[in-house]
Amino acid sequence: MDLLNAFVALANFVLVPAIAYGSQLALGALGVTLIYGILRFSNFAHGDTMAFGTMVVILVTWLFQSWGISLGPLPTALLAIPFGIAATAALVLGTDRAVYRFYRAQKAKPVILVIVSIGVMFIYNGLTRVILGPDDQRFADGERFIISAREFRNLTGLEEGLAIRTTQGITVVTAVIVVAVLFWFLNRTRTGKSMRAYSDNEDLALLSGINPERVERVTWLIVAALVTIAGVLYGLDKSYKPFTYFQLLLPIFAAAIVGGLGNPLGAILGGFVIAFSEVGITYAWKKVLGHALPESLEPDGLVQLMSTDYKFAVSFVILVIVLLFKPTGLTKGKSV
């Protein structure tokens, strides 16, 4: 029995990856929830918007790398993020003007907007594949580890190592900064307050002279920033492939719904709930249990509840369970 080693193994294989993954999901889910709260539809093109933004960042990163610009130990992609956000913002604002605005003016039902977003999804997906292709791309550079397993073992003398990759550290730091800025914006600035007012009660907000076009524009800008950052962090941490980003739609939506659609705090909570369950259920607990339990109880098998191939099943089951027992999500979400 060795609780310290058990904890280090737990941190290495479950806590650190899940916190990083949860931060990425939370950023993605914030975008979904903002669109749902203010533009009032579920945006199926979200995953492909993420893929598009990340693609621009990757292209700019390669350009910088070819010029010899780098951030030293940090990935060059961080420098390229503003360009990705700008391109994505232009894309979503253009889409809003050319496509979504027409249906808003008509006061179309939300489900019509969802179908429209499926068309947009096809277009973004095609764009990304035409420009960069459907394959895996690697764009991470700089230092690989903040602390590697070997360094940790040498430092502490423990049997288990704790590796923290640079990308994981960057993910968490960036996510904290982005969320802090976002909440400051929503709670403290005039525009942010008008956005929340518009989300709570559209008619009342319009009566008080809030300009809906401005609110919608700002929402798309924020969403563009959120998806690009989330996409780049996910791509740095794992790898970039347009189809994977499309599939992220499921855990991201699950996170937003589990947390309560339309509620930003809920989206963050949901992101971590989904990430921790996904990593926890698909992780083989043999090592951790081997340290934590007395020797006589040590497990023979891998103690893996589900194979990693079924990670979508985890988001799905949590989604269904939460919805069956708390139909508006863990925090009180809204419904249009």
Binding site: S42, F44, V99, F102, Q106, A108, K109, P110, V111, I112, V114, I115, V116, I118, G119, V120, M121, F122, I123, Y124, N125, G126, L127, R129, V130, I131, G133, P134, F243, F246, Q247, L249, L250, F253, A254, I257, L261, L305, S307, D309, Y310, F312, A313, S315, F316, L319, V320, L323, L324, P327, S335
Partner: protein, 457 residues
Amino acid sequence: MSGNRVDTAGASPARTAAMFALVLVLIVGTGLVQSWNSALIILNMGLISAVMALGVNLQWGIAGLFNVGVMGFVALGGLAVVLMGMPPVGETWAAGGARVLGGLSVGAAVIVGAVMVWNRGPKRWRGWMTFGLLVVGFVVFRAVYDAGVEAIESINPASTGYLGGLNFGGSPRTEDGLPLADLFVLLAWPAGGLLAAGAAWIIGKTALGLRSDYLAIATLGIAEIVIAVLKNEDWLTRGVKNVTGLPRPVPYEVTLQQDPGFIERAAGWGTDVTTASTITVKLGYSLLFASVLIVLLILAQLALNSPWGRMMRAIRDNETSARAMGKDVKARHLQVFILGSAICGIAGAMMTTLDGQLTPSSYQPLRFTFLVWVMVIVGGSGNNLGAVLGGFVIWFLWVQVDPMAQWLVGAVTSGMAEDSALAAHLTNSAQHLKLLTMGVILLVVLRFSPRGLLPER
């Protein structure tokens, strides 16, 4: 649907006839310009797409249910072809068949038991009791199931390593050992419908009470899970190793080419034997698929115009008032969800029969869920003939945009240098232009003709 048009009249018979004549022209045109072989390939997949679109139209167009898990039901239909078409593998059944089935029964029993405990158990303790039952049940399930799976998958994994199907007789062959048509595999089509219906029942029971967006995400998730099962449960489907050589309900080309009677007939038609045999085989499929489509279409039309159809549309247009009239909305939704999914399952089984193999990794949501949605919306949701038309038109475009894009890229890059990286990149990405085209078509139709090519009456 929220059309911006004032006219409420549906598609006139003349318009319908003209549209279908256009499809005929497109397919015959392909035959004349490219080859009859490609025309028949498009026709066959068009027929299958039309069946899928019919299923989705039943759910969305008539009942207003937002199902984006079409791919899952289509894939279950494909699984049915393996289960009905392949002969059972004796060694694997002996090794672990009983264990796996036993494990699955334990799993099912635990879930049923948990639901019963939750519904009937004492209020105070039912949460803990359900949880405890699930945990114990999971451990027992894994203990029984895992060993069986391992035993099955270890037997000859390169060629079998799975349980096989229920085609006990095996497929018939000629005296020379050439394969013959096996009509037994036709049973896979209704079986695919049943499998999909069963899955739809489970999903509907849990997710249909939810709001439309939630239902959409739930079905999206189910479809991914079905694909994950097909990819990873090797004992059932051989996973990514694929099941090939599924029997066919139509003659085989090789057999026809050896048949003296057929050679004589081919000579009579004035074509070489190879072409004649491929065309004959494809025409056989076309006839089978067309009969299924026609039967389903007639049934769907009868249902649409029956009191049941009027009730479904009433529920779709105003759920609250339908409920006030005493209609059981939830039960009707479940019913139509199961029916529509079953039709998608049948289409999936037909498609896998046509392919002759089950390739779990080929199921992509854009192709098998969202493209079917484009078909329904473009064709005209709520109108069965519209959905069928959409199936043909969109499938035709999906296939034919490729050569058009290649041609376009060729024209654009013809001025560039031979070794230009941009030209190579453009040539490579021409194949992805069809996704873009589908998006544009969907958006244009939604904007300028939101009720589709053949609007609902």
